[in-house]
């Protein structure tokens, strides 16, 4: 008795999370003028309710796997896994924003709407089965985040971040689009799952892959590498991450990275799986550069937010190590790492968002002196996230690294793993430095701790619990990641 024919209904099912997110976003935009300035936070709660609703949408999508809208979108376990990460990240970022926006006096409806639109864009990226659709998802998430990065309108740094992100980001997406065009020129299709067949045919007929396709892949790598902050396309990241409002940074560091890695997995593994020997060394070199740049630059930072921005770069490097494996184990490792990484990184940035206080004044490492005695619970939380980023056992970050290394070793990428391992020790220094400041330094006299808002407490509790859960009981999530990896190749 439904008003839609079944195939149309299936389309809706398979795009359910994005539809729900966009509906919530539009409702917020429409409602915004009618809500008094003092009650704008209601819109925030509305946006937050939108995320569990979107997760319900993911559930609908998971129950009806397949392709939608003439093969543009693909709903599979892989897409579901990334959706959960992305939507979870958005939920935590929204929770962390309430108090922050009040403090900064920028509590507005469009902020939340933009977060939801960005999330919908990331969802499309994760589920794209066709390159132009992926491009739309990329643009959707990018444009929303350009605006979000500049949301502290009166802060110079925030403006700088937005402009930088916009200019460089436009270049990157243009590269991506150009890459798509070349791949289309070489293979005559933009469908991710069809390209692989065309390439295989090419190898059979000509004994090799057309160089135009490889060039296209390289250009796409530029665009996607920008989004996942892989070196040498990482230059924008520290400035943008530092300048953007901290909850936005939390979202930027986790959501787009997860979604873009998902698309990278689809493009590199599925479409260009037969050209593995072409992209392996690109990934290898990029991974090494990313880790080195991220870690060494982070070493000398005195601003904790900027340091964590560099640490995001370093972590992109670790994920690329797993990526270089080129196997199912590699996909599983990448996915697991993304989940663990999103939790710990958002947690860390949200702690910073709170400690920065009004106007993001307190971001220097010296401002963290003696936090262990002044705000013990918050300090323990932050230490947990830092130790997880560092990769200490019993945390999600450790197992993420473990699986990444194991996947790479399994593919005999030994030296990359050794470099990654050494890098993670370099990383230990700057994470520990913050812990040193928090616990070993004398607290400064003029510091007045502010109360942690209940919404932020809730977000931090989820992030901390998740980090520990992934570190201690990884089996379930790992199973899901494995299922996701399997689904990637199903035709």
């Amino acid at each position: 008795m439904t008003p839609f024919p079944p195939e149309q209904l299936a389309n809706f099912h398979r795009l359910a999370p994005e539809i729900i997110l966009c509906v919530f976003g539009i409702v917020i935009m429409v409602a915004d003028p009618f809500v008094q300035a003092a009650h704008k936070r209601v819109l925030g709660w509305l946006a937050f309710i939108g995320t569990p609703a979107a997760l319900a949408g993911v559930r609908i999508m998971a129950n009806d796997p397949g392709t939608a809208y003439s093969n543009l979108i693909r709903a599979d376990a892989f897409s579901v896994f990334v959706h959960v990460i992305v939507i979870g990240a958005a939920a935590l970022a929204i929770l962390g924003s309430f108090q922050y926006l009040d403090d900064e006096n920028i509590q507005r409806g469009e902020y939340y709407a933009l977060v939801l639109f960005a999330t919908a864009g990331m969802g499309i990226l994760a589920g794209a089965n066709e390159l132009v659709t992926a491009f739309i998802g990329l643009e959707m998430s990018s444009i929303s985040t350009y605006v979000l990065a500049g949301f502290r309108r009166r802060a110079l740094k925030s403006n700088e971040a937005s402009l930088k992100y916009f200019v460089l980001g436009s270049f990157a997406t243009a590269f991506f689009l150009y890459g798509i065009a070349m791949v289309y020129g070489a293979t005559g299709t933009t469908r991710i799952d069809v390209i692989s067949g065309k390439l295989a045919q090419m190898i059979v007929e000509h004994g090799q892959v057309a160089s135009l396709a490889i060039l296209g892949l390289a250009l796409m790598f530029v665009g996607l590498g920008f989004k996942v902050v892989a070196a040498p396309f990482q230059v924008y990241a520290p400035d943008v991450y530092e300048g953007a409002p901290t909850p936005v940074t939390a979202l930027l560091a986790s959501g787009p990275k997860a979604a873009t890695f998902a698309l990278m997995l689809r493009v590199f593994y599925v479409s260009f799986g037969s050209a593995g020997n072409f992209w392996f060394w690109a990934i290898w070199i990029s991974a090494v550069l990313t880790m080195l740049v991220g870690n060494f630059a982070a070493l000398v930072q005195t601003n904790v937010k900027r340091m964590l921005a560099y640490s995001s770069i370093a972590h992109a490097g670790y994920i690329l190590v797993a990526f270089a494996a080129g196997t199912d184990i590699g996909i599983t490792a990448v996915l697991f790492y993304l989940a663990a990484y999103a939790l710990m990184k958002i947690g860390a940035f949200l702690v910073i968002a709170h400690l920065g206080q009004q106007g993001e004044k307190r971001l220097e490492i010296t401002d963290y002196a003696g936090l262990g005695t002044k705000q013990p619970v918050l300090a323990v939380c932050f230490s947990l996230f830092l130790l997880s980023l560092l990769g200490l056992p019993a945390t999600g970050g450790f197992l993420g690294k473990l699986f990444a290394f194991q996947a790479a070793l399994d593919s005999k990428v030994v030296w990359l793993v050794v470099i990654a391992a050494i890098n993670s020790v370099i990383g230990a220094y700057y994470y520990l430095r913050v812990i040193v400041a928090m616990y070993f330094w004398e607290p400064s006299k003029d510091y007045v701790p502010t109360k942690v808002a209940p919404s932020l407490t809730f977000a931090l509790a989820i992030a901390a619990a998740g980090t520990l859960y992934l570190g201690l009981l990884p089996a379930r999530v790992l199973e899901m990641a494995k299922a996701a990896a399997d689904s990637l190749y199903l035709r």
């Binding site: 130790l387 200490l392 056992p393 019993a394 473990l402 290394f405 194991q406 070793l409 399994d410 030994v414 793993v417 050794v418 391992a421 050494i422 993670s424 020790v425 230990a428 220094y429 520990l432 430095r433 040193v436 616990y439 070993f440």
Partner: protein, 439 residues
């Protein structure tokens, strides 16, 4: 090892901080975990878990330069362990399991073949982690800092148990898993160990800081242990295990004694002391006794370990033993000289005249240590007999593996019957719980 750890934590009661005890107990849990883990991943988990509480122990309750020492300690150790993690994963990918006996069986029967190049790399990764922990000569620089800056209980645990994690790891993983590589690298490691012995002793001699001096004795003594292990004879390995235990007791006791002096004067400078025998005869007598055990006076525990190591080493490597023996002489020099400067002579600093002698609690602690020292010295056969089985087993394993892997094509079927898994399992049990199981 376990009672020793408990003993150490029990002795730290003077520090009345809740977090302190939390940290101590977590360390203890982790260390017991390391010693009982037969699963490589679990082993690594506990291995890393020992770091964090120790880091806080040094960093929060330590002395002046504590932060520097804490960071140095943790970075050094992590560097080694992360490479070990890579090696562990590598082994996992080869053998398909983290279970040590399983991996060992697979290596021995030739189910998993390690090319000698790979074996060397894996051995190197494991060995580096352990050598940093021990610490072996060029990697020892974190130790004096960590020891000097750590609170007394921290030093005691560090010296008493934590350093042994390294030598334990060598015995447990390096030798049985990678015997060929161990044999190939033994000459170099032996030389490093000897340099450690002599260098540690010489540096200890010139220290003006009492606690640093004791820290360098650890470098020297642990050099003996490594030497004993890599001399590959039953006696020397027994000696090494014995030295591990006895060094824990003696050096732990030394740190306790130094800590007691520090509680009174809040300094470790040797020149601040002098003539302490008169104001506090009991404490200083115990101190002398402990120093004597540390410098290996015959009836005491230090002697047994060093003697066994030297005998065992001499069987195969005359020159090594000769050089190492000079370390024993040097240890007499630095300890007695330090004692002379602290204990004998005129009281040079006025404050020292009125220092109180050992309290009842301190007497109890020191007496316990002294009893342990005498017991281990006189009744050493009790210990060595238990070690003999596991040591022999270890050496047998190594020889067998060599026999298997030396010829280019191993014969799994034939060899499998020779190697019964029983004794190997028993060996591990004996070493951990000291429960004697005759194979």
């Amino acid at each position: 090892m376990t009672p020793l750890a408990i003993l150490c934590s029990w002795q730290a009661i003077r520090e009345n901080v809740k977090g302190f005890f939390i940290a101590l107990l977590v360390i203890e849990t982790a260390m017991i975990g390391v010693f009982v883990s037969l699963d490589l991943l679990l082993f690594f988990f506990f291995w890393e878990l020992t770091l964090i509480p120790m880091y806080f122990l040094i960093g929060i309750w330590g002395h002046d330069r504590r932060i520097y020492a804490a960071v140095k300690f943790i970075l050094y150790t992590m560097f080694g362990s992360i490479l070990m993690l890579v090696a562990i994963l590598w082994l996992y990918n080869l053998a398909g399991t983290f279970d040590v006996p399983d991996i060992q069986a697979k290596l021995q029967t030739g189910l998993v073949l390690l090319p000698s190049h790979t074996e060397l790399l894996l051995f190197g990764a494991f060995f580096l982690a352990f050598a940093i922990k021990v610490p072996l000569f060029p990697l020892h620089t974190w130790l004096p800092d960590a020891h000097t800056e750590a609170p007394t209980a921290g030093s005691v645990i560090l010296a008493g148990v934590m350093l042994k994690l390294g030598t334990y790891g060598m015995l447990r993983f390096c030798l049985p898993l990678f015997p060929d590589a161990a044999h190939r690298m033994a000459p170099y490691i032996g030389v490093l160990a000897i340099i450690g012995i002599v260098y540690g002793a010489m540096v200890a001699t010139v220290q003006t800081d009492l606690k640093r001096l004791v820290a360098y004795t650890s470098v020297s003594h642990l050099g003996f242990v490594v030497l004993g292990i890599f001399a590959f004879s039953t006696i020397s390995i027994q000696g090494a295990i014995f030295q591990m235990l006895s060094h824990g007791v003696s050096t732990g006791a030394l740190f306790l004694g130094v800590g007691m002096l520090y509680d009174r004067r809040h300094t470790f400078e040797i020149k601040e002391f002098g003539g302490l025998v008169n104001p506090m005869p009991v404490l200083m007598s115990f101190f002398l006794f402990i120093a004597l055990s540390s410098l290996a006076l015959p009836p005491l525990n230090g002697f047994i370990g060093e003697f066994l190591i030297l005998i065992g080493t001499f069987q195969g490597h005359h020159a090594w033993a000769a050089w190492a023996a000079s370390g024993a002489v040097l240890s007499a020099i630095y300890l007695l000289w330090a004692y002379q400067r602290v204990g004998f002579g005129e009281v040079t600093v006025e404050k020292n005249r009125t220092l109180p002698d050992a309290s009842g609690r301190e007497r109890l602690i020191l007496a316990t240590m002294a009893v342990a020292i005498i017991f281990m010295g006189v009744a050493s056969p009790i210990f060595t007999r238990r070690m003999e089985v596991s040591t022999n087993n270890l050496l047998h394993q190594m020889e067998r593996v060599q026999n298997v892997s030396r010829p280019a094509t191993p014969e799994p079927a034939g060899k499998q019957s020779v190697i019964s898994p029983g004794p190997r399992k028993n060996a591990s049990v004996t070493k951990i719980s000291l429960r004697h199981v005759q194979p």
